[in-house]
């Protein structure tokens, strides 16, 4: 996975600071191969969102800065880019918490995703119809104000809006946050379909380790701003540590985080 032509995104040893003092990422290296789905897993505050924002260059608007390391997208460094340039290059981030334009209709929300492209009215309608084939539910609600749609629908709007920009790569930040299990599955089905049919590479930040790994090719687990573990999705799903810490299953039955820590400190003492 180290060949550059195969990786659409290549993050090398980045360090990120907020406000010049708060160290959010220590050392994160991560690669997304072209056309694959990569999951970035970890608890709250582990640095998932920060990593995604470093890639989309949206860090600057939150007083964050990449202070060490490099990020290459599609073979070029992203250092001097701004968010709208990144969208122009085909990298679109779907922000955490959906962030729909509440007073706009569902359809206006989706069309706004095409802002960076120079399309005629006819082209836009054609693209819109194509996007509706993935998001059937949104077509029914196209005239509703986005703020009055459900959480699941808003997440779909956010993804559909990003797809209107015709991305080569999508960054999804916790797309299933606060959604019912059935909707979580529906969202992941759409993501998978977009990946396979449209060939979009996807970097996905999730807390829902199980379903994220089941729908990914490769996974990274980060904790306190560092990559702790990486591997193919399958190997991570079968990894005992991951099972214990993130999936809550082990050979000895269910466990919680505290038990694992206790066990580990015991082991250290013995060693």
């Amino acid at each position: 996975m180290s060949d550059n032509s195969v990786n659409i995104l290549d993050i090398k040893n980045i360090e990120v600071m907020y406000d010049n003092v708060i160290l959010a990422l220590h050392d994160v290296s991560l690669r997304v191969p072209k056309g694959k789905v990569v999951a970035l897993l970890g608890a709250n505050g582990a640095g998932k969102s920060t990593t995604l924002k470093a890639v989309s260059t949206m860090l600057a608007s939150e007083r964050g800065k990449v202070t060490k390391g490099s990020i290459d997208y599609d073979g070029n460094s992203i250092e001097k880019q701004n968010p709208s340039q990144m969208v122009g290059l085909g990298m679109v981030q779907v922000l955490e918490g959906r962030r729909c334009f509440g007073h706009l209709t569902v359809e206006e929300n989706i069309i706004s995703g095409a802002y960076s492209r120079k399309l005629s009215k006819g082209d836009i309608n054609q693209e819109l119809e194509k996007i509706y084939t993935y998001f059937l539910r949104l077509k029914e609600r196209r005239k509703s104000q986005a703020a009055f749609t459900s959480g699941g629908e808003q997440q779909m709007i956010a993804v559909a809006r990003a797809m209107m920009a015709k991305p080569k790569m999508l960054l999804l930040d916790e797309p299933t946050m606060g959604l019912a299990p059935q909707l979580v599955a529906e969202i992941f089905n759409i993501v998978k379909e977009l990946n396979q049919k449209e060939g979009v590479s996807i970097l996905l930040a999730e807390q829902n380790t199980n379903i994220a790994l089941k729908n990914s090719d490769y996974g990274y687990i980060i904790e306190t701003g560092k990559v702790m573990l990486e591997g193919t999705a399958e190997s991570l799903l079968n990894n005992d540590k991951v099972k214990e810490l993130y999936l809550g299953i082990s050979k000895k039955g269910r466990k919680n985080f505290r038990d694992v820590l206790k066990e580990e400190s015991l082991n250290k003492k013995i060693n």
Binding site: F101, S112, Y115
Partner: protein, 302 residues
């Protein structure tokens, strides 16, 4: 009886038309509030600055009317450009309150610049439209309505329709509404914030110029225009800060109500209630309908 009714009609129509002048000023506030969720305290100064520049071009340099107007409009675009570059961009991550304070500062800068460049004396602005009753209407409908009021009404109507079409049906209008809702999300899908800000501030500048011309023709181009613009505040509270139709209807309501109150209730208070009656009305709106008549409802899902 018929005479009384006629008199009431005259007061009402006069008030409504005078209200469109308020609407014009309020329009500038709405534009900026939509894009940056900030009450632009410098709007009054922009009115003063733009129309003083317009007068200056005509009277000091003998530039013809139309050309001077175009120059003044271009000057307001430059002001918009500088504002975006020097004030808004450095404050991009600052809170809305900080931006609000910055607009107060900007207002002082514009007032100072205008007076430094064009002097402090009151100037007369002649648009070629008299502020006296139109004979035709006076003869046929028995209503005494000022030609300037009618012009202001027409100009306001044209600007409103234009802006409405711009917001609703153009790409840049869609971008602007998106930024108004969530600037961060808008930037994440590639809507360039700086273009939108530039557009909005320039548009607000041109609207200020038009409003300034109307007010200047009536009351003279002078420093008092800055404070007069604050009359737009009750208009905005009644109409809603984020609504263009709201600015118009709010202006009409204020215009009509203040004239009617002045004529019929004013004598009981010793007159001159025109000055404060709109604010009392605004207080009632703040109590019972804080988003205004047409403001975007604060949408909160439960």
């Amino acid at each position: 009886m018929a005479n009384e009714l006629l008199f009431f009609m005259e007061v009402l129509v006069g008030g409504l038309l005078a209200g469109t002048m308020y609407s014009l000023v309020a329009l500038g506030f709405v534009l900026i509030f939509k894009a940056s969720a900030t009450f632009n305290f410098s709007q009054g100064a922009m009115v003063f600055f733009s129309v003083l520049a317009f007068c200056g071009f005509m009277q000091d340099f003998n530039i013809p009317f139309v050309l001077a107007f175009i120059l003044a409009a271009l000057l307001m675009v430059v002001v918009g450009l500088c504002t975006e570059r020097l004030v808004l961009r450095p404050l991009m991550n600052a809170s809305e309150d900080t931006v609000l304070m910055a607009t107060i500062g900007l207002g002082y800068v514009l007032e100072g610049l205008a007076q430094a460049a064009w002097g402090v004396e009151v100037r007369r602005l002649d648009l070629g439209i008299g502020d006296f009753p139109v004979p035709w209407i006076a003869d046929n409908l028995k209503l005494f309505i000022s030609a300037l009021d009618i012009t202001a009404g027409l100009v306001a109507a044209i600007m409103i329709i234009g802006l409405f079409l711009l917001f609703k049906y153009t790409k840049i209008g869609l971008g602007l509404r998106a930024v108004a809702d969530d600037a961060g999300a808008a930037s994440s899908i590639g809507i360039p914030l700086k273009h939108i800000m530039l557009l909005v501030w320039s548009a607000a500048g041109v609207v200020a110029l038009v409003a300034g011309c109307m007010w200047g023709a009536r009351a003279g181009v002078q420093f008092a225009l800055v404070d007069l613009a604050l009359k737009a505040l009750p208009v905005l509270i009644i109409g809603g800060f984020s609504s263009i139709p709201g600015a118009i209807i709010g202006g009409l309501i204020i215009g009509a109500v203040e004239k009617i109150l002045e004529v019929y209730i004013g004598p009981f208070f010793g007159g001159a209630i025109e000055g404060w009656a709109p604010y009392v009305l605004a207080i009632f709106f703040l109590l019972y309908r804080p988003e205004g008549l047409f403001g975007e409802k604060i949408i909160r899902r439960v």
